[in-house]
Amino acid sequence: MKKIVTADKLPVLWSHLAGQGKLLLPVKEGPTVLFKEWTAGDEVALDAPTSAISPKDIFFPREETYMRYRCRGPVLELSAGEEFEPVTAFGVHPCDLKAFEMLDRVYLDQDPVDELYRDRRARTTVVALACFAPDPFCFCSVFGIDPVSAPGADVIAHLDRQSGNLMLEAQTVKGEALLKGDASLLTEANGQSYGPALVKTADFGLKLSGLSENLKGRFEDPAWDKLYKSCLGCGVCTYVCPTCYCFDVEDYGHEMAGERFRCWDSCMYGQFTLMAGGHNPRPSRKERIRQRFLHKLQYYPETYGEIACVGCGRCLRSCPVNLDIVQAIIALGGEQNVQR
């Protein structure tokens, strides 16, 4: 099923979708683009390269209260956190879509299933947006991601740069349901196609084949002694990263009432692994940097068969000292003209 929405009708489409639940869109906020809930009047940025922060929080919110408790006399009552409402996530780039697949493996495919993630995932219709203007930091092609296709998305959208019209193609039953909307809004696409069929990103001269295998046994590699030195331990890389999924669980309240919640955490922080007795298996930034990059480049591939990076470029744009994953891969010998 293929439908077209003309540029002038886009605000109507947003209102229409927002009427069915929560609508998330890439929206301009000052100089940045954020993936957030749309409200009338927002400036939607479908032509932006990518949002500043990954949209992983659709399924894995920064903070999520999953249990509330209250004592009424001798009776202790538990109740769930919030109810999940239907969500349309519109304009997810293929790199971020691929990252969803990587989080799915951890949260859905490994027993036991993370029900909080699963419920949000099940209630969300994902509309991917073919990427036609990668910026100089984008390098998803290195990971074999096609910027103009979106396997697994419910709908793929292509934006026509000249007209600003949007072509929507359903890829799942959920996607078809979304497109069975108002005929005056969504018109049949009669064999048209939008956008360049071939989009390539930078590759920074990276060569990833064999890297994960090669990293086994390089835990004490001298490269780690150099690599970590510029790190400030700020954790922004993990915050913006679409494939970072670590979290903390904490209580807020007292013995009579309160809540138990989870929130994003970061392996870049010393407290992450600090034990109550004072021992820390990762006492310095060296061990933390090594953990983060080995997790992406060796541990995750060892378990799931591919590197946990999608080349979205966010760590390249965000790291204040340019200690991004490209620099790490290069330092570990992952360049085309380097013999390992």
Binding site: L76, V113, E255, M275, P281, Y299
Partner: protein, 281 residues
């Protein structure tokens, strides 16, 4: 409330609690029973497994279950007073409630060990995960070729489960060896470090499984000495501990290499462990 949400705990009531040791980092044991009879009946743990226990408003900690399922429909946790959550736990007494979820992690493969001699080597609070093995083997003694327990602590006052050893040393189907670091009055067992006592006892590695748990420095020397005694890496088991939050291999903090201690551990054969780079960090 999602019934399937793995983060939602059960409530358990403390039936009994007592101090094992004294001092700043004292150890208190809790005997708890699930409030829901259905949970009590369906709960099934194996020696070596852990549970996330908690106090509402304070948080949760991963604690090893220090009883064997053969002991009855209750759980025991021996908790050292250490951080925020364990301090809150220590304030609880009989009749109070704690939250419990689990059981988590793999377990000691006690069924695969049938027909073998079992040797446990513990130090301090490290006896807590070993106690279920001892109790399990005691209850199924005819299925095992032998049971030897070596347990030590800094002083007599630092030994956990003291009340249980007198009765054990009277049994002729197991041998129980206790040691403390420094001589003290009224102590009629061994004096010396656990790894040395292991060497002195000189157990044969033949058809034997050795399981050790205790402070990292003790484990290091026990592993060395087991090697000296001729134990192969496959015959030696230990447990790891790291900071944990989820207990189900999702939150990403307790890994050593690509293994999550909460899920793939806490029990590891030394033949596996020796190749994991961060295992002894």
């Amino acid at each position: 409330m999602t019934a399937d949400n793995p983060y939602i705990p059960y409530f358990a009531t403390i039936e009994d609690s007592w101090f094992e040791t004294g001092g700043d980092r004292c150890i208190k044991t809790f005997k708890v029973v699930f409030d829901d009879p259905a949970v009590r009946d369906s709960w099934n743990h194996k020696p070596g497994q852990c549970a996330m226990i908690g106090v509402l408003g304070e948080g949760e900690s991963m604690i090893s279950i220090s009883c064997s399922p053969t002991e009855g429909k209750f759980l025991r946790f021996s908790v050292m007073k250490m951080g925020k959550v364990t301090q809150a736990l220590h304030k609880l007494e009989a009749g109070d409630k704690m939250t419990v979820r689990g059981p988590y992690g793999n377990s000691f493969p006690v069924d695969d060990w049938q027909g073998k001699k079992i040797l446990t080597i513990g130090g301090g609070i490290g006896q807590a995960p070993l106690r279920p093995i001892v109790e399990f083997v005691k209850s199924n003694r005819e299925k095992y070729a032998g049971l030897t327990m070596i347990y030590g602590a800094r002083s007599a006052g630092d030994l956990c489960f003291k009340g249980e050893f007198d009765q054990m040393s009277k049994r002729d189907d197991l041998s129980c060896h206790l040691t403390i670091d420094i001589e003290e009055e009224g102590w009629d067992h061994n004096v010396g470090f656990v790894p040395q006592m292991l060497l002195d006892l000189n157990p044969s590695p033949e058809n034997t499984i050795a399981v050790t748990c205790g402070p990292p420095i003790m484990i290091r020397f026990v592993l060395e000495n087991l090697k000296k005694l001729g134990f192969s890496d496959e015959q030696v088991y230990t447990t790891l501990e790291n900071r944990m939050k989820c207990g189900i291999g999702k939150c990403g903090r307790c890994n050593a290499g690509c293994m999550y201690v909460c899920k793939d551990g806490p029990v590891f054969s030394y033949s596996v462990l020796k190749d994991i780079p961060e295992a002894f960090a």
